[in-house]
Symmetry: D2
């Protein structure tokens, strides 16, 4: 089939390649002309036969919104837009409504796979009406891993991004689990080879997992991670997961702890711990450390 | 080689079988005569040629202590005792010292694998002197999974149980991660098939893991876990992990949250939340619910 | 001065009384005619001399929005609306803008004091332009406690509700602190009189506080809180505090733990702990409890 | 009455002064001869009439143990030893048993009050047999605050230190509550005067407390705590509180979060966040920051 693909960065570029390898035609557009197959969204739309499928793979928020707005003007009834970026699930219903007003279908799709996706395939979670999903299916088949798993029609519009968001929330807590365990092992004298302990866990244990494999890879590069700073960004999905939990009164202690650990990692000095120091000094005369 | 194996319960019985399948001789003792090969520890020791290796696989605490005490009387210099149970790592040095006073070696070994170990092999983490470990190695080779991973000499006496304890701490937080994510997905309307979302994650995602596979199995048995009570025991290692972290001033927020969630799951009514209800009533006249 | 007061429930009714005791004129409106001084918002507005101050004390959300909408139609340039309810701070800027378009001022005011406010005074945190705040000042003076503290101009529009929201977030964690301590003391045998321990803490300790005094009152009513269910609602400010923290990448572990404990207290059975139980059963054959 | 007082540091010295002001005789011993009234423990014991009361106010652990050991040799049946230091409650039963073997009584006493105790009095929580407590009562009366609260016979031997430990656990979470709220207020633009918000809370609010008063004092010294490092020690009681909770399967999320925040504040770089950074880099090619 033919696919229009908007956004050819690290993710989008690899996805174009994987879809082409599956024998489909991809017309790609990117603001960066060095990456693009066509010079504008209009050219991209004109270059596809109706009914069209256009996959949007640009940053969540303003960039996705303006792309959807523009596609709403350019596309025709019967076409379908897929938002494969990291949009907040709450944006999906708005985008779907805006496009539906013009007779254009909408599918939201969470994509997991990172830099490994080109070779291993991408896990896909999508939401929307069955008829719209059906039009995109050949592309989903091209992108997904080769095994029997890796793609799911999760539910209504928004369900794809919601499922991907929860995936990332789980990912935060799994990473935190390994990180806490690693720090504790490194802190004691009796365990003399923490890296080999991690390596051994890759078979036969309850915690064997791809993240564990990656941890071993990282330790093989730098046994004590001595070259790294203990500093972690967060990309939105963790925050949204906690917000969704609050909206639904679901307690999420481990995932939230993982998010907060990242926040704290980015502070040069902790304001709240200054207050703790100040209070200890006030009631107990405990020494404070001045800057 | 010959091995004496003390404790032939769910774990020990399967381990005897796996070691025998590898061609070794196992003389097993259990308090339950229906399970045992010999009638007493003395018979077990007498039935092995020196230098002997005796693997203890009985409940941590009093049962392990009394078995070690008895073996210290029965064994000879040059023999080795392996504690493969779930002992607290702090017990190992005591046991090693007690046995060393008689010239008997000691190796502690954390064993992971549960009911799957007989077929898939057991992950093994052991601690102790190299000469003692060497004497047990054929048994480790028999028990471990077939791949290149799954056993490690983690360090000094105690390191095996310490590594296994941290494994279990990580396991607690990974389980909690999936559990939190599952509850959140079940709480929203837009995701119409949570089980299929979990199933899809088994390939191509960052969170693919054996625990995820098991979650899918559990959901295949009972899609919404409607037959289960939300009630979870803990078996000691989670508590010890947090205590070890406190001893080493290592923050462990996700693992500890997972432990506390289990504690709370076992309370019919939460005493602390009674106090919250009482305080809200005191200052705000907020309604309380009486029993 | 004259004040229009909309909403004469538990809080509003007591506030009317306290303001009148201070010698001011209050014209009160409530949908419930048994509580109201006038029959409509229009009558209320007509009964006040310009420039008017109208204090809105109705539930956050739709009720506050519709009252603000109606007042925007009824009031005149130079009048001021005070939102003294529990509105989310993000609503304030919208309300202020809507009123400013008609030349009407807006002040948001967080009010603390509960059922004790009539006698002890209400703590007030307000936000808005100095000229608008000045018009309300006599009412603030009437409502506040008699000492030198208890009211603050916290900043711009929204700052009052933001400060009150954070106050409540702190309150959640302080309540949780006492609740956790109480549960732990009740759990051990050596401490034979937990209520008297709490009572003793009311002087000389670092934790002496009004909440502690209230805890002692509650224990005097019911020494072991045996009549209560461990069940706590939350009224929005705790959730908003965590959301604001997430927006600002501020880690809030203790306040969030307190919020999640309330969520969990309202679940008959914990879905996430069902998943934990299911996973333990899958890998270890651990017994589950069926319903 | 007469009291022997061992340990005349910051706490002990002030306590000697307060007891003397109440008209009692205090014979003080300290290793530092500049502080001491007598040159040795033996001189202290010889200088008191039987039945004696000797209050030990030295660091927990080895110093307290050796003092108790020495007093067990020097004192006579009918005498009483009070441990007023910060001993772990688990040490008390051991000390009581050791002294009881010689007919000497033992009372453990948790003392709160810090640098303010000399003027305001010390809150006291004590454990032990009624007959031993009775012998110390005049000293308790001298030390306690003037109001009706501030001292309690909490239960059996160990109950005093246990109650004081829980007091400190609660204190940790209350401090953390104010610290989190303060950081959040400082993080937003709309609240222009955070210090005045804190000051206003001192009356009429639910969170009014001595710790709040101290926070205002600290902010008056340094409005944004700009001179301090966000660095907090912990003195043992917080750790023991969490350990006691684990022993009793009591969930303690807010207190534990407060303890872990202190641990993290003391790390120059967080090992666990290095692992998070390494994993993000592995799966997503996310940039890491090198040292």
């Amino acid at each position: 089939m033919e696919l229009g693909l908007v956004g050819l960065g690290k993710m989008g570029g690899n996805m174009r390649e994987r879809i082409r390898r599956a024998g489909h035609t991809v017309v790609g557009y990117d603001r960066n002309p060095d990456l693009a197959d066509v010079g504008s969204l209009k050219e991209l739309v004109d270059g596809l036969q109706a009914p069209r499928v256009v996959w949007v793979m640009v940053p969540a928020g303003a960039a996705t919104q303006s792309t959807v707005d523009e596609l709403a003007e350019l596309l025709e009834p019967g076409d379908v837009v897929v938002d494969g970026g990291n949009s907040r699930w709450t944006d999906d219903e708005k985008h779907a409504g805006e496009l539906a007003a013009k007779g254009i279908g909408f599918v939201d799709c969470g994509v997991s796979g990172g830099v490994w996706g080109l070779e291993n395939g991408y896990a896909l979670m999508y939401g929307g009406d069955a008829e719209h999903v059906a039009k995109v299916m050949p592309v989903f088949e091209a992108l997904k891993p080769e095994g029997e798993f890796g793609n799911v029609h999760a539910g209504k519009v928004g369900a794809g991004h919601f499922a991907k968001m929860v995936h990332n929330g789980i990912e935060y807590a799994m990473m935190q689990a390994f990180a806490e365990g690693w720090e504790l092992l490194e802190a004691v004298d009796s365990v003399t080879d923490v890296r080999e302990v991690f390596r051994s866990w890759q078979e036969g244990t309850v915690i064997r997992s791809w993240l564990l494999d990656l941890a071993v890879r990282a330790l093989d590069d730098d046994e004590h991670l001595a070259e790294l700073r203990g500093f972690a960004q967060d990309s939105g999905e963790g925050r949204w997961t906690v917000e969704a939990a609050i909206d639904n009164a679901v307690p999420l202690p481990a995932i939230t702890a993982s998010l907060f650990a990242r926040f704290a990692s980015r502070q040069d000095d902790s304001p709240q711990m200054k207050m703790i120091a100040a209070l200890r000094n006030q009631f107990g005369g405990h020494a404070v450390e001045n800057k």
